[in-house]
């Protein structure tokens, strides 16, 4: 977790928790542990602020802003520990052609592959008729359907409780946009 990151809706940053860990730590540990046992997200823990960062020099429409989400530190602790559990298994779950967001893979690999493919089209030894599609996908990971996530995880035969924990995280989220 970045130390100087902006705080979530509760206003307390990582720096605060580090400095006060001697008397706040037990309560934080308790909260996280209770969540992992019962799979119920306490109220308001994952309230989230959406802050808009302009993507362009002159931003006109809402799509010209990149929404970033500020979560509470306590929620990040929960989400990070879930993500870390999943992390080591991701290479098995995610197809090798998907290069982004996995340790050891780089999105630039796919760019090189794409370049190789276009290059091979121009070779005289290339005898097939072929075409390429360039699709501009809007960032998708913020907009996944809950049901889809749960179904996909179930198909991967993850433990029921682990899936429940993830569902508790995503289904209790509340947003407020900060302008």
């Amino acid at each position: 977790m970045k130390k100087n990151a902006s705080p979530g809706p509760d206003g307390f940053n990582v720096e605060f928790y580090i400095a006060t860990w001697s008397w706040i730590g037990d309560d934080v540990i308790n909260l996280v542990r209770t969540f992992f046992i019962f799979g119920v997200m306490p109220a308001h823990i994952n309230a989230t602020h959406i802050v808009l960062i302009p993507k362009k020099l002159v931003s006109m429409v809402p799509a010209d802003y990149r929404p970033i989400r500020l979560c509470n530190v306590v929620y990040k602790l929960i989400a990070k520990s879930l993500a870390n559990r999943l992390k080591s298994h991701l290479p098995d779950y995610i197809h090798p052609s998907q290069q982004a967001f996995i340790q050891g893979r780089r999105i630039s690999n796919n760019i090189i592959i794409a370049q190789e493919i276009t290059h091979s089209f121009t070779l005289s030894s290339w005898k097939h008729q072929s075409f390429m599609l360039k699709i501009d996908l809007a960032k998708a990971f913020n907009r996944l359907e809950w049901k889809f996530i749960i179904q996909a995880l179930t198909r991967k035969r993850l433990h029921r409780h682990f899936i429940n924990l993830i569902h508790a995280c995503i289904s209790s989220l509340t947003f407020s946009v900060v302008t």
């Binding site: 808009l52 197809h95 091979s120």
Partner: protein
């Protein structure tokens, strides 16, 4: 966006952006909500498009939400005060406790002298002390004042660091006027003066701007394709598309080398 054109649309059209507004940091500080608008070019009136500098806009009174200040950690009574506040509220939920603590800290910090003012006061005191004749000088008092001054400067740096968001600033950099400008520029860049909604209507009032964004995100986050999901999961179609792509790669780029 252009604001001047030679109107030789059929032969050699030139579109230029000639007129600009330029202001230095001091001016920007004096007119924080100023903004520049380019108006439509009406060539029968002038070959330049009007450029409008508005020095005040709709006043945005932003409700300040609580944010933890890192410099509070350097206050001597912080730990004790915060711990006591925290321990008063064991019977309620965690988020309610952080809310209570935030409220307590808000009141607590109101009793602190503003950092900048404290700095000026200390400076004056040190100066007064040093003006005294040599034999009357109180060196131990001067020493403690200088220490407090030093301490205050560090807090002020914390304050600016948290706002300027420049990660490459090291501890001990204390170029406060630089910070000041960086913060100001950041605020300007991040302030949303107007936004166009899905019906191409431009909104300038803060209330309408926020409504536009809320609608936009509500639309994005709302569920829309429930029926499709089962379909994808059963047919696994994205996977098929991906594997053809990888096969393509193995055939070509690696196969080519092995042929030689």
């Amino acid at each position: 966006m252009y604001i001047w054109t030679n109107r030789h649309f059929s032969s050699k059209p030139i579109f230029e952006r000639l007129d600009r507004c330029l202001a230095n940091a001091d001016w920007c500080a004096s007119f924080p909500i100023s903004n520049v608008y380019n108006m439509p070019l009406i060539h029968t009136i002038s070959d330049h498009a009007p450029i409008l500098l508005s020095m005040d806009g709709p006043v945005r009174r932003i409700k300040r939400t609580f944010k933890f200040e890192n410099w509070w950690l350097k206050e001597q009574d912080f730990q004790q005060f915060a711990r006591n506040e925290w321990r008063k509220t064991t019977h309620i939920s965690f988020s309610q406790r952080t809310n209570k603590l935030a409220r307590g800290l808000k009141v607590w910090c109101r009793k602190k002298k503003p950092l900048q003012q404290e700095l000026t006061d200390l400076e004056e005191q040190i100066n007064n002390l040093q003006m005294q004749p040599m034999q009357q000088q109180n060196f131990s008092l001067e020493n403690s004042l200088v220490n407090r001054y030093e301490n205050n400067l560090t807090k002020l740096t914390d304050y600016y660091m948290q706002r300027a968001n420049k990660e490459w600033i090291k501890d001990g950099d204390r170029n406060t006027s630089f910070f000041h400008r960086a913060i100001h520029k950041r605020r300007r860049n991040n302030t949303i003066f107007s936004v166009m909604d899905e019906n191409n209507v431009v909104h300038y009032m803060p209330k309408q701007i926020s409504n536009t964004f809320v609608n936009y995100f509500r639309h994005i986050f709302a569920s829309s394709m429930l029926t499709l999901i089962g379909h994808i999961l059963h047919h696994n179609s994205p996977m098929i598309a991906m594997s053809t792509l990888t096969r393509c790669r193995t055939n070509k780029s690696f196969g080519r080398h092995s042929k030689r």
